[in-house]
């Protein structure tokens, strides 16, 4: 039934250039729907989607929920706080309960890497990974790619630099595999302690100098830095981090060509990025948010719909 060569969206690792292109093309049409006065199509009518969030993420959940509503799916929200999970229910039991309720699609956020793969093994439902620990966050990478393609026309040959905490970032891994698949070059920039082991095997370049990266890249995707990383000894202080890896106006102005700036949010203003950059003319951060809804509509449509055209009147 899926228009993609996959039943699930567990990660971008196995998605081909063709699959990703289909998603991005579909997302462009979905974005047109979002610009209409009546922002709703009946494409997923009769399809039940549960948003299974074991970890709170207001923006990703809202984005998915909106995408589902725009496609007329029946939507259910399940969040872990106050739920059976807090009483010790296992993921497998939760899964079995979902199955018993005859859900069609599970959109899932969980702190454990591979947990969507785990559910996919135990359920018949379509699983969409909305972030599994530090592993993958495929729809985020897709919306990043959509935003870049919109800006540059193509991803081929583009030089994209991911800046910051690569080690703990699910956004990074999905972006790396997705961008590489689409023919872009990926540069990683961050302190040595936040660059994961063996990452060079993925065909990326590594630098510890943001100034250097700025000289050679077309776009910077600034990752969120978490305070607790400093507490666990991964870098000396936020001040030092800001000084060497924070994106400021002065830094950006040294770029030979204007750079496009992305950030998956939520932003620590003044830490990994200063406000004048985040709100400046190079920033596409708000466009990413809009594209996020469009990409999620596309993914849900391609996996769970696929019978009717999204344009149906």
């Amino acid at each position: 039934m899926s228009l993609l060569s996959h039943k699930h969206m567990l990660g971008l690792r196995d998605y081909s250039e063709q699959d990703i292109t289909i998603i991005l093309d579909t997302a462009e049409r979905m974005r047109e729907i979002l610009d209409r006065p009546v922002k709703k199509v009946p494409t997923l009518r009769g399809v039940t989607v549960v948003n299974l969030f074991f970890e709170s993420s207001t923006r990703t959940r809202t984005s998915f929920e909106l995408a589902e509503k725009r496609l007329s799916a029946d939507t259910l929200n399940f969040s872990a706080s106050g739920s059976a999970v807090e009483k010790g229910e296992t993921l497998l039991d939760t899964a079995r309960n979902i199955e018993a309720m005859r859900i069609d699609v599970v959109v899932m956020r969980h702190k454990s890497p591979g947990s969507p793969h785990f559910l996919a093994r135990h359920l018949d439902s379509i699983i969409v990974n909305a972030g599994d620990g530090r592993h993958e966050h495929p729809t985020q990478a897709l919306l990043d790619m959509l935003t870049l393609r919109e800006k540059f026309g193509t991803l081929k040959g583009l030089r994209v630099c991911l800046v910051g905490d690569i080690l703990h970032s699910r956004v990074a891994m999905s972006n790396i595999v997705g961008l590489k698949t689409m023919g872009a070059n990926v540069v990683l920039c961050g302190p040595a302690t936040l660059i994961p082991r063996g990452i060079e095997r993925f065909g990326v370049e590594i630098t510890h100098s943001l100034d250097d990266a700025i000289q050679h890249c077309d776009a910077l995707n600034i990752l969120r830095i978490q305070l607790e990383r400093q507490q666990s000894g991964l870098f000396p202080s936020l001040r030092e981090y800001q000084k060497y890896f924070g994106l400021t106006r002065e830094r950006l102005d040294k770029a030979p060509n204007p750079l496009t700036v992305l950030h998956p949010g939520p932003i620590n203003r003044g830490v990994e990025i200063t406000s004048d950059v985040a709100d400046g003319e190079h920033s596409v951060i708000l466009r990413q948010v809009t594209n996020g809804v469009a990409v999620r509509m596309a993914v849900l449509y391609l996996l769970a719909g696929g019978r009717a055209e999204p344009e149906s009147k």
Binding site: H110, S112, P113, G114, F118, R134, H135, R197, G198, I199
Partner: protein, 439 residues
């Protein structure tokens, strides 16, 4: 085996038959330390062996074992029997049944139970559970009280109770001072320390080997040096004190290198290796299947190859399973949450005969690693197939084929890394302690 149906009394795993008078006909007897490798008749009478006996007494149970092998009883130096405390996963009895089914006549069980085996009373209790079975359960006691890594257990008393080795396995002994003293004290008593080599802080929170695979899977990694650092620490303390040290479940290339070097320099170090580290690498984790989650974790291919080399040349003295049963509901969890460990007693022999013998090593070398060396490390008598010796032996059908099916395990747990593997060579029975089990 043809004759087993004629002697069903031997086939009960719950109640092994007394080995009063049994005659095995035509088997190949293999006991390299006694220089035996011949087809012969083997009579067991009142628990004692007689090779090619003059006469076979009336009423003897006869088995036609042509095409089969008889070796001295196999011994697994590293198993977790979980009792007391986690009987859902395994009990001493169910673990012994698994050992019998796997062709072992002896196991050494680890003390990380709940409560830990840190006193003579508990050690005696564990041994008592296996009384009616042909399995020697050798208890390795905790090295420190409650396995807390602070105070030494009452080692003298435990050695008097038969203990020959101490370990806090499951964890390393973190303090180098405590490790040093434990080694010195055990050495004074003719015992030795087994170390689960690990720098706990380097591997903290890890779920698999740290590599491009952990990066790709987003799983927190356990670096290989997390093991090797402790291996080197143990070697240095052993050299300094002259006390013996045994390194458990070695898994890294660098560990093998340093152990080989230490042995070359005459340092008193022994080591063991497990089937999963010899046959699998960290790419096995790619589907997030928790049956590939163990500690130490499956390592890189270069580590695996180095372990094989160490296993061949004797740097790694012992082939053991690290049999670590967990109930299915514990393993049916997210990869980072599920417990470490796989079972191994019922697949170890098939794995060895299919994948190691004779392509990688000859049978005599394998027996060195699984019959003699483990018992030597525990200062236990080594069984032999010479006339007059007590019968402690393993029956093997080298041509039997099987596909690993966890549903058929005698262990209470099914967490194997080898489900579905085709294996050639199978244990057909064991005789020990005047008891026989013959499948």
């Amino acid at each position: 085996m043809k004759s087993s149906s004629m002697n069903p009394k031997y086939a009960s795993i719950d109640h092994p038959a007394p080995a009063r008078s049994i005659y095995f006909e035509g088997a190949r007897l293999i006991d390299p330390r006694s220089g035996i490798d011949q087809a012969a008749g083997l009579l067991i009478r009142d628990g004692l062996i007689s090779v090619n006996p003059q006469q076979i007494p009336e009423g003897t149970d006869r088995f036609d074992l042509r095409g089969h092998w008889i070796t001295p009883g196999w011994f697994d130096l590293h198993v977790h029997l979980r009792e007391p405390g986690r009987e859902v996963a395994e009990t001493i009895v169910s673990g012994c049944h698994a050992a019998m089914a796997g062709g072992f006549t002896g196991v050494a069980c680890m003390p990380n139970t709940d409560p830990p085996l840190d006193n003579a009373g508990l050690v005696g209790w564990v041994r008592d559970q296996a009384k009616g079975l042909p399995i020697d359960v050798h208890v390795i006691a905790a090295a420190t009280r409650e396995r807390k890594g602070k105070e030494l257990v009452d080692m003298s008393e435990l050695v008097e109770a038969g203990v020959r080795a101490f370990t806090d396995d499951g964890s390393p002994i973190r303090s180098s001072a405590v490790l040093r003293h434990a080694m010195e004290y055990a050495n004074m008593l003719g015992a030795r320390i087994f170390e689960h080599a690990e720098d706990s802080e380097l591997v903290q929170g890890g779920a698999m080997n740290e590599s491009e695979w952990s990066t790709s899977l987003g799983l927190p990694g356990m670096p290989a040096i997390g093991e090797t650092i402790d291996v080197v620490r143990c070697i240095l303390i052993s050299e300094y004190t002259g006390a013996a040290i045994h390194l458990c479940h070695v898994s890294t290339k660098e560990s093998v290198h340093w152990i080989r070097e230490a042995k070359r320099r005459g340092i008193r170090v022994t080591a063991e290796v497990c089937p999963h580290h010899l046959l699998l690498n960290d790419s096995a984790c790619k589907e997030f299947d928790t049956n590939f989650k163990m500690n130490p974790p499956l390592r890189a291919e270069a580590d695996r190859l180095a372990c094989i080399e160490g296993f061949r040349d004797g740097t790694l003295d012992v082939y053991c399973t690290d049999h670590a049963p967990h109930p299915w509901e514990s393993k049916a969890q997210e990869f980072d949450v599920a417990p470490f460990g796989v079972v191994g007693l019922e697949t170890a022999m098939g794995i060895a005969l299919t994948h190691f013998v004779p392509t990688m090593m000859d049978l005599n070398t394998l027996l060195e690693r699984v019959v003699y060396a483990p018992r030597a490390i525990l200062a236990q008598p080594v069984p032999s197939l010479v006339s007059g010796a007590p019968a402690n032996l393993t029956l093997i059908d080298p041509d039997a084929t099987m596909t690993v099916d966890p549903a058929t395990f005698r262990s209470r747990s099914r967490n194997t890394a080898f489900a579905g593997w085709p294996l050639k060579g199978k244990a057909m029975g064991v005789v020990n302690r005047g008891l026989a089990y013959i499948a």
